[in-house]
Amino acid sequence: MGPLIHLQPVDLVVSTTLVIGAGVISVLLRLGIGRRLAVAAVRTVIQLGLIGLVLEKIFALRRAAPVVVLVLLMIFFAGREAVQRTGRRYPSVYLDAWLAMAVSCLAVGGVVTQVVVGVHPWFDPQYVIPLLGMILGNSLTGIALGLDRFLEHLAVRRAEVELRLAFGATRGEALRPALRDAMRTGMIPILNSMAAAGIVSLPGMMTGQILAGSPPLQAVAYQVVVMFMIAAAVATGAMLVVLAAGRRLMDADGVLHLDRLVAR
């Protein structure tokens, strides 16, 4: 295997012409997304540039505190983003999303980094940050989709929920169909990527490892671990947030409090 090819500033300039090409197509076809594309491209450069600088710094320090702080910040922003993607809200929705995100990601991330990969020292940023980043990114989607579907189910199919209650269903029995509906929706993206992995697409992390010079089988082993870890994190995160939402919106005696639910 040859030495790694490092990207130079001029390579980035060349790639800029590619996104400008996409912009030209948008203008020619009057897609009306030229401006959004420009903003998105600038954001990509600035956000990734900043996180690159931060990561260089944290990697150089090799101390636990900055890694922990960065992970907590990532959880904070992921939870916030998850709620902002849902169509309805209730008063303590942010707290619920943060807790679900934190518990699922720290539990699954903990097992993967400490037991499966066994990183040393325990906070080694080279492993901990990208692994938790992937968990968070996917958990975010799962939590957002699951929560959105759950709240929509309660709002739109309220009559069905109350019909079950009226015939003596407990809170768990009344909410189970909404919960199942939400969990299925939240799990769809990861199920799809697990089913398509290797056939339709080479997953991003595996591609990255191969580009960085890893032997393909080693990259595959990591990708399998990552897929399983994401599935576990999405399932736990979506389940926790939906259970929490269910308890906020229906009291233990099965009275629905949908007045707490506001559409955006």
């Binding site: 009226a166 003596g168 009275v255 629905l256």
Partner: protein, 210 residues
């Protein structure tokens, strides 16, 4: 019992309601007076604090309301159904944990449908394909098959032609007149010629014998 409407206006306050065994009582009142809300309050589907519920001398407080609803069951307005077959819509209440009765068999489901004039509705029909009137009678058949101690029926005859409405009302009365049973019923606007064993009127937030 007390309740307010969506705009915070008082619907009723300090309302008390007693149903005697073996009676079919009609609840009347101008539209918007809160009849449906009152039924939902009795069924413990609304905010439950400050309401005391008693059935056959037994008090139903916090933690027991699922059991209360299994005995004092609301057949809600607009006849809601669950997605699935007609049979599942008759059967699902029997799958809940609080139920100590056997799962209802196909024969009793068939008999319940026949009782409300749905002889030609198959149990395996998808409920999404039944008409509005059939759906109302299906909902009534489910409530009668469930056989609650107290049946709260909110506009059970809506959308039915006069013959079918009287057939269904007859079934409600039969249920009410059995030992240990009672029915509280709200009839839809403009329906005439049905009388129960008693009438209650909800006017200006007060509940009175009519």
């Amino acid at each position: 019992m007390a309740a307010r409407d969506g705009e915070g206006r008082k619907l009723f306050e300090g309302a008390e309601l007693t149903l005697d065994e073996g009676r079919l009582v009609l609840l009347e009142g101008p539209s918007g007076s809160g009849k449906s809300t009152l039924l939902r309050q009795v069924a413990a589907l609304l905010e439950t604090s400050g309401v005391s519920r008693r059935l056959d001398g037994e008090e139903y407080g916090p933690g027991t309301l699922a059991r209360w609803r299994a005995r004092v069951t609301l057949a809600a307005q607009d006849a809601p159904v669950l997605p699935g077959t007609v049979g599942w819509n008759l059967e699902f209440p029997f799958t809940f944990r609080h139920v100590r009765r056997d799962v209802c068999d196909a024969a009793s489901q068939r008999a319940a449908l026949d009782g409300v004039g749905l002889e030609r509705l198959p149990l395996d029909r998808d409920v999404a394909t039944v008409s509005g009137g059939e759906r109302h009678r299906l909902a009534l058949a489910r409530a009668l098959l469930w056989d609650p101690t107290v049946l709260l029926a909110d506009e059970p005859l809506a959308g039915l032609d006069p013959d079918r409405a009287s057939l269904c009302f007859e079934r409600l009365a039969e249920h009410a007149h059995r030992a240990g049973r009672a029915v509280l019923c709200v009839l839809h606007e403009g329906v005439m010629g049905f009388s129960g064993d008693g009438r209650l009127r909800l006017v200006d937030g007060r509940l009175e014998e009519a």
